[in-house]
Amino acid sequence: MLINVPETVVADALRGFAAAHPELTVDVENRVVVRRDAPVAGKVALVSGGGSGHEPLHAGFVGPGMLSAACPGEVFTSPVPDQMVRAAAAVDSGAGVLFVVKNYTGDVLNFDMAAELAEDEGIQVAKVLVDDDVAVSDSLYTAGRRGTGATLFVEKIAGAAAEEGAPLERVEAIARRVNAASRSFGVALSACSTPARGGPTFDLPPGELELGVGIHGEPGRERRPMMTAREIADVAVDAVLDDLDPSGPVLLLVNGMGGTPLLELYGFGAEVHRVLGERGVPVARTLVGNYVTSLDMAGASVTVCRADEELLRLWDAPVRTPALRWGR
């Protein structure tokens, strides 16, 4: 691994992030990344955060048109309430703050505590829970579906609404609508290695793959002998469409897990387009790349979001962050 020692991996990365992005304010000690022009008068702020190891999520999405601030935790570990409260205080203009929370027990508990503390400080807080991963059955007997690729859609689209001046209730409603209209399915071709462990966090022999994998190297639900990109696309898209009524155009994210080359990812993306076409689902916009990663894990995920005209317009709105930028 290209590191110094496991204990300083997150701080070292934040120092490098600060050096590369002078347009953002990076508080390395307190682990908060903030838009330099925050608080923006009259604008609702978006704060997200989660374990590190999913870069560019979330700090890479801080900037005009997307997040106001991000709180990176330890590798695969939710940040602590202190970080979120600090971030909220730094970005709140008085118009309120939306917490974008991926549905993992740790993230939910810490953001809940932070919301209470921030409200004690007079900050109006709303929360949206992202839970798009169809590989986990949403029942009383699990922690519920995981938040994965749809996080990018929620942060981009709700961020655009906030940038346009929408009030907190409206930004929150749009964020919920995007999450409700999104579904994801992931596949791992290799396990990921955390710095603390120094090796693979689960055992996935060459020649096998894990279907329905999460973004923390948590083993998926089913292991199969290696399949072609064509076969994987069939399984992933059908798993997503089984759970999502595909009437009308969709946003598509073909997301790399960190260890799969873009050459392979685009090839996989072609197969995903083919299946969606065969199933009669028109794709309005496509994003291909490593956006919601799992350290060095090889593999990919497919996220589909049912998009109406308003969501498409907000998706196309200008954005200027380290990892996503277009328009203007």
Partner: protein, 203 residues
């Protein structure tokens, strides 16, 4: 076992817990990599080391104050699910102890009962869900029945071992469904260490 427990005992308990978590960190991470995300040992080590250091710098005056202070430190340093859950356990137990300068083991058992109830409420879990509650519950029950710290430690360790055949219904292990069966729960394992640390603090 001594009849009354003072703030010094509770500081020793937290220091012993930090040492136990440090000693067992690799095992906790191994257990977590089987059904979770391989960070439980590192997180618990970071949190309890911060607790021990903070108590060294700011020794708290009463048993309740020691635990409330320790709980707050865990919430501020651990993250993940275990930060809020262990933080709430210690904070609520400390609050239930009030501001008495000394407490009896019976009072500690009762206060721990309140702490465990708060954890169950926060995490939405019940006994048998393959979580830390499966070690905390038996440990506190044994202490309440007068089994002493050694009896409580034994009951908590047995409770942790009994999670092996369970199907996980909460936390990350629940994503695995049937595949969570056959592995000991890392949270129950670290919870049992807290009772082991009680024995060491009393020695």
């Amino acid at each position: 076992m001594s009849a009354v427990l003072d703030a010094g005992f509770f500081r020793r308990w937290m220091t012993a817990a930090a040492a136990a978590v440090d000693r067992e960190a690799d095992r906790l991470t191994d257990l977590d990599s089987a059904i979770g995300d391989a960070d439980h040992g590192a997180n618990m080590r970071r949190g309890f080391a911060a607790v021990a250091a903070a108590l060294e710098a700011e020794p708290q005056p009463t048993p309740g104050a020691v635990l409330v202070f320790a709980g707050r430190r865990l919430i501020s340093t651990v993250g993940g699910a275990s930060g809020p859950l262990y933080g709430t356990l210690l904070r609520r137990t400390g609050k239930a102890l009030g501001d008495a300068a000394e407490v009896t083991p019976e009072a500690l058992a009762e206060a721990l009962g309140a702490g465990v109830a708060a954890v169950a409420q926060l995490g939405g879990a019940t006994a048998g869900d393959k979580t830390m509650l499966d070690a905390l519950g038996p440990g506190v029950d044994a202490l309440g029945r007068g089994g002493g710290f050694a009896g409580a430690a034994r009951a908590a360790a047995e409770g942790a071992a009994a999670t092996v055949p369970m199907l996980a219904r909460k936390g990350r292990a629940s994503y695995l469904g049937e595949r969570s069966i056959g592995h000991q729960d890392p949270g129950a394992t670290s919870a049992a260490l807290l009772f082991e640390a009680l024995v060491e603090a009393a020695a």
